[in-house]
């Protein structure tokens, strides 16, 4: 087996959809800024890159037309670099990382840009023409709305509202502290807009209190426990990691952030999709030959507080290791871009704070989980 490594990570600032500073930025332009900056920062000769893989959950309109190829052209990558858009909803760009790792193992390339993008301002979360299969819709919760799955998970695993709100407050505080300590700055690529250069996240609410959250109305069910405050916000953003073979990274002087030692996908029931990370993580850890207590760093996407808590409990994770710089409830969740962000973030923290193993995992609408296990390289 070849050793595959994460050799670079960058992302755009994340901003709230519709009212945020990136609402008027095209998603292809947004992603191209991040890709261009990452290549530039890596110092890598661009012609050595095999392919640009872009994850996107709703690849239509400005995110359509195989947006990966267009992002490559906008970013000024050499014509020889390929472009492929992948869609596994929220797992899209993490799937891009898995694909790249597989291609490297196959000997089908040495260096891949694995990006993700979602402008939830400009392409709605159902796409412009949602047309579900009526027969499937009638007999299966295949198309269930995400908020409803969060309620289902809260109910099934007994996660009460107060627990969700405490989790959300913690996420906000961690993200606020990380931002204040300058820990988010290096990964962010400033984005030029008509309103000026956007250099920081616009999503964080570090002053959030449990009392304020307790006053919110349930967002999805009149009798429910999930609110806007315990859900990740609709977000605009893009992210990218550079995935190479370890040999390639060493010979080209790239920073080796972490090694990919296990990946997995696992399906689950659509109505409790938030629990998807549990089986996917177990499989990935088994493939890496580690146990949960060996994890020093976990990036577990916070689609909703209820599912994040349920996954932590089911996997027996140490909460202190989870989302050290804050999670999606605070930072935001631009669907297609989250996978690359949390892989990059897990690798970054492993390198920054020390430790041996990291896990990046997320749930996926329709009922799936995806997971990546990383190992420190020192």
């Amino acid at each position: 087996m070849k050793s595959v490594v994460i050799a670079g990570y960058a992302r755009s600032p994340f901003h709230l959809a519709h009212k945020g500073a990136l609402a008027r930025v095209r998603p292809d332009d947004l992603a191209a800024e991040v890709v261009r900056a990452l290549v530039e920062r890596s110092g890598l000769e661009p012609a050595l890159i095999e392919d640009l893989i872009v994850g996107c959950a709703f690849p239509e309109a400005e995110q359509g037309f195989n947006v990966a190829r267009l992002i490559g052209l906008i970013a000024g990558l050499p014509l020889s670099v390929g472009g492929m858009t992948v869609n596994r909803f929220c797992g899209s760009s993490m799937s891009g990382v898995h694909y790249a790792a597989g291609q490297i193992q196959l000997g089908a390339g040495e260096a891949f840009l694995c990006a993700g993008v979602e402008s939830m301002s400009r392409v709605p979360m159902t796409g412009f023409n949602p047309m579900p299969n009526p027969a499937l819709a009638a007999r299966s919760p295949a198309y269930i709305a995400m908020g409803d799955t969060a309620e289902n998970v809260a109910g099934k695993f007994g996660i009460d509202r107060a627990a969700q709100e405490a989790f959300a407050v913690a996420s906000q505080q961690k993200a606020g502290a990380a931002q204040a300590a300058g820990k988010l700055k290096d990964e962010i690529v400033p984005i030029p807009t008509k309103g000026g250069l956007i250099e920081a996240d616009g999503t964080l609410r570090p002053d959030t209190t449990a009392e304020a959250l307790a006053s919110l109305k349930p967002a999805f069910s009149a009798e429910g426990s999930v609110t806007a405050g315990t859900s990740s916000p609709l977000t605009d953003g893009a992210s990218c990691v550079l995935v190479t073979s370890e040999d390639f990274a060493r010979s080209h002087g790239l920073p080796i952030m972490a090694r990919v030692v296990g990946v997995a996908i696992s399906g689950c029931a659509p109505e409790i999709m938030g629990i998807g990370p549990v089986e996917a993580s177990r499989k990935a850890m088994a493939r890496a030959g580690i146990e949960p207590d060996q994890l020093d760093v976990v990036e577990l996407n916070e689609a909703f507080a209820s599912q994040a808590i349920a996954c932590i409990e089911q996997l027996g994770l140490n909460p202190a290791t989870v989302n050290i710089d804050g999670g999606a409830i605070a930072i935001g969740h631009p669907l297609g871009a989250t996978g690359a962000r949390i892989v990059g973030k897990a690798a970054q923290i492993l390198q920054r704070d020390g430790g041996k193993y990291a896990l990046a995992t997320q749930c996926i609408g329709g009922g799936q989980g995806i997971a990546t296990v990383l190992e420190a390289v020192r």
């Binding site: 412009f128 023409n129 047309m131 009638a138 908020g147 069910s221 009149a222």
Partner: protein, 775 residues
């Protein structure tokens, strides 16, 4: 709008309720406006004006007609931004009623205003000559008083007062802008205290309140007598005081007492009622305070309570007394002749008020027409004081005044044996101070159906609609049923009108002068049919409406609809089938059928999809237009202005908006004649619709609303039927769905829903309470 062209930027100084509201109305007219107020917070210097705009965005009824209008208001403060008035063609001062402050402000404005810029004050109490003391001749030439009424968007009156030095061309320029761009009716008033409306209105309120205390008439009795039967809004005087704020009354009184002539009759009736003073002191200032003459009980049941004028305590409101015979329906002679307290109270209000009004001409206005117009537009009276006198009889009024030893105004004697208003030579005429009758001259470009009706017989009529000849080859279709409701008679008349217009005329305008264009199909009639299970009758009406509206759409002549007020349900659908809509800015348009458990049945569904899919901003594919229309119709969304109706797709981008109600018919007629040149009827649309897949997507959204408690179980049933229609039923996206197919789908969905007892319950509830039943 020729007026708008001459005023391209306005500044309003003073961001209180009036100033901010005036700024909003200027913005509603599409004219950029600078709103300034004082600096209260040194760190946030324009916070006062900005706060006023933010507050207005949350106010209901809304001062702004659209969010786009709000963006036309630039806010600032008097200290830093006064130089910006140099770019403004009209500077409106609406600060507190203090002469020294106003004069100081004018001095500063004089330094910055450009030559030719007009300055006006919204004062309601300070004489013009005092205001311009110390100002240059150039300033005086360009200064006048423009007195708006609150709220400025909704009240149609502006009293315009010019000074001896005012430049007539500049006065005309503002009058024209106020009329065409702001949609106001301009009444020229003289520079006297309270001008016209508040002079008479304050007297009337005082007389009505005094009489209630003196005669022992209860609050609810007083308002029941001095309200509707006199053509006054049902709030009467006590309800009106609650609405405008009881604390305002002493201010109005003080300002009038400070300036009125020594012998003015108001001085004799002005008095401080101890109870009212205590109410104000204790915060019972009306609707904005803890309560007023009326309040809703604080026990959570929100029952209506009234203040007992004798004890000063609240008690449950009694049912308003119903007046016998014609006394309750506008026959003032009968009202005044009522025995007991009712007749005495009516006289105590009307007698002195009408005598007072008659005594004030020509002191406050050049003619009686201005006085009647001011009270109708400024106080929403159905009849002005002189029209009220005509309804009593000038001689009868004079005789009764004389009999009681009261002064009889000269004007009443002048009218002796005659009326103040008459129709002669197919024209409205009023009695002049010279004792002769004069034609009521409408401003150029104003055409009223009321005037057309004086000039001749209808072309054709049915029980619920009439066809009038508006000249130049244009016929007008008027609805005449209650609330202008639509029924088989309307459809039948449309059927007969089409061949007539095609043969002998150029165009048809659908228009009326009711307060509402049409509240839709006649629900009362429908309920009757449903209660006796007369499905055949209901079905006949569905088909008749579909056929009539399609016949209008494909007629060989243009049809222009000109709504004002509510245009709901079937009243909206007739707009949708017109070649063009010329809407009054205050049009409230919506397809509200779902609220009564139905779906649009007269072609509204297809017309709305056709509008949205032609919108260039819509994404491609079978769903976007369908989703948009589904959202609007399933939630029974009603546009709160013509501007909002454009945003919701009821109006096309090419449809026109008229700000001044009185200019609506003329604008619609002009549009119709313009369309008549080389007119070609439209081609029927062909739809590509998503079919069952689209319905599945829409119903997922509805289920989400259900889960959140925002939709009821029966909402879901109705929404499913609506989704069936809008997605084309069993349509496949590769097939073409015709307009006929869409009508068939509407027909089936409508007939399925009317047979459901839950729809019947909704219809009944709406008729009984005027509110939707959430079953």
């Amino acid at each position: 709008m020729s007026g708008a062209a001459t005023i391209s930027r306005v500044c309003v100084i003073g961001a209180g309720v009036m100033g901010a509201g005036i700024a909003a109305q200027v913005a509603n007219a599409g004219v950029p406006v600078l709103l300034l107020d004082v600096v209260r917070d040194p760190a946030d210097r324009s916070a006062v004006a900005r706060g006023a705009v933010e507050r207005m965005l949350k106010t209901d009824p809304a001062p702004f007609m659209s969010k786009a209008a709000a963006r036309l208001v630039e806010t600032g403060n008097i200290e830093d931004d006064l130089a910006k008035v140099a770019d403004c063609d009209w500077i409106i001062e609406a600060i507190v009623e203090r002469l020294d402050l106003k004069q100081a402000l004018y001095a500063k404005i004089e330094d910055h205003r450009h030559e030719g810029a007009i300055v006006s004050s919204n004062t309601s109490s300070i004489p013009l000559d005092r205001l311009v003391e110390g100002r240059s001749e150039g300033f005086r030439r360009n200064f006048l008083i423009t007195h708006f009424f609150n709220p400025p968007r909704y009240m149609r009156l502006i009293e315009l007062v010019s000074g001896t030095g005012s430049d007539p061309a500049q006065v005309a320029r503002i009058a024209d802008f106020a009329d065409r761009a702001l949609g106001k009716s301009v009444v020229r008033a003289k520079d006297t205290p309270g001008f016209i409306a508040n002079r008479i209105g304050t007297f009337w309120i005082q007389a009505a309140m005094n009489a209630a205390f003196d005669l022992g008439v209860s609050v609810e009795e007083a308002d029941a007598i001095a309200g509707r039967p006199m053509g006054v809004p049902k709030t009467g005087v006590f309800g009106l005081a609650d609405l405008v704020g009881i604390d305002l009354l002493p201010h109005l009184k003080a300002s009038l007492l400070a300036t009125l002539p020594e012998d003015d009759p108001y001085r004799a009736i002005a008095r401080d009622e101890g109870l009212i003073g205590r109410m104000i002191a204790d915060g019972f200032t009306g609707r904005k305070g803890k309560g007023g003459f009326y309040r809703l009980s604080a026990d959570g049941q929100r029952r209506k309570e009234v203040l007992d004028l004798a004890s000063g305590e609240y008690r449950a409101a009694a049912k308003a007394p119903s007046l016998p015979g014609k006394a309750g329906s506008g026959d003032l002679a009968a009202l005044l002749a009522l025995p007991g307290k009712a007749g005495a109270y009516a006289w105590a209000v009307l007698g002195p008020t009408l005598a007072y009004a008659a005594s004030l001409v020509p002191a406050i206005a050049d003619d009686i027409a201005a006085v009647d117009a001011a009270m109708k537009l400024g106080y929403n009276w159905k009849w002005g004081p002189f029209e009220l006198i005509d309804r009593i009889g000038a001689d009868r009024l004079a005789a009764r005044l004389e009999g009681e030893g009261k002064a009889v105004p000269d004007l009443l004697r002048l009218a002796g044996g005659r009326t103040f208003w008459r129709v002669e030579g197919w024209k409205r005429q009023f009695l002049g101070l010279d004792g002769d009758y004069h034609d009521l001259v409408r401003p150029e470009g104003v055409l009223l159906l009321d005037d057309i009706k004086l000039a001749g017989a209808p072309v054709m009529k049915s029980g619920s609609a009439v066809l009038w000849d508006a000249g130049d080859g244009v016929l007008v279709l008027e609805f005449t049923g209650k609330m202008n409701a639509l029924d088989g008679e309307v459809m039948a008349l449309i059927g007969k009108a089409i061949p007539l217009v095609a043969a002998r005329h150029k165009a048809l305008v659908v228009y009326n002068e009711g307060s509402n264009f049409s509240a839709g199909a006649n629900l009362g009639l429908a309920l009757f049919a449903l209660n006796i299970a007369a499905w055949g009758e209901v079905e006949k009406l569905v088909v008749a409406g579909q056929q009539a509206y399609k016949a209008l759409k494909y007629a060989p002549f243009p049809v222009v609809s000109a709504p004002s007020g509510l245009a709901l349900g079937g009243g909206c659908e007739i707009l949708l089938h017109s070649d063009a809509i010329q809407a009054h800015a205050e049009s409230y348009i919506g397809l509200v059928e779902c609220g009564v458990g139905l779906v649009p049945g007269w072609g509204g569904c297809g017309e709305m999809i056709d509008r949205w899919r032609k919108n260039p901003a819509m994404p491609k594919g079978p769903m976007p237009a369908v989703s948009k229309v589904f959202e609007t119709i399933s939630t029974a969304t009603v546009a709160k202005s013509a501007a909002e109706a454009k945003e919701l797709g009821f109006l096309r981008p090419t449809d026109g908006v008229t700000m001044n109600r009185d200019r609506l018919l003329a604008d619609a007629k002009a549009r119709a004649l313009q369309l008549a040149e080389g007119y070609v009827p439209p081609e029927p649309p062909q739809f590509r619709l998503p079919g069952p897949s689209g319905k599945a997507a829409l119903m997922m959204a509805v289920e989400g609303f259900r889960a959140r408690g925002l939709a009821t179980p029966y909402d879901e049933v109705v929404a499913a039927r609506l989704a069936d229609v809008l997605t084309g039923g069993e349509a496949d996206p590769v097939d073409v769905v015709s307009e006929e197919d869409m009508l068939g789908l509407e027909h089936r969905a409508f007939m399925a829903l009317v047979r459901d007892p839950r729809s019947l319950a909704r219809v009944e509830h709406m008729l009984e309470t005027g509110k939707p039943l959430r079953n």
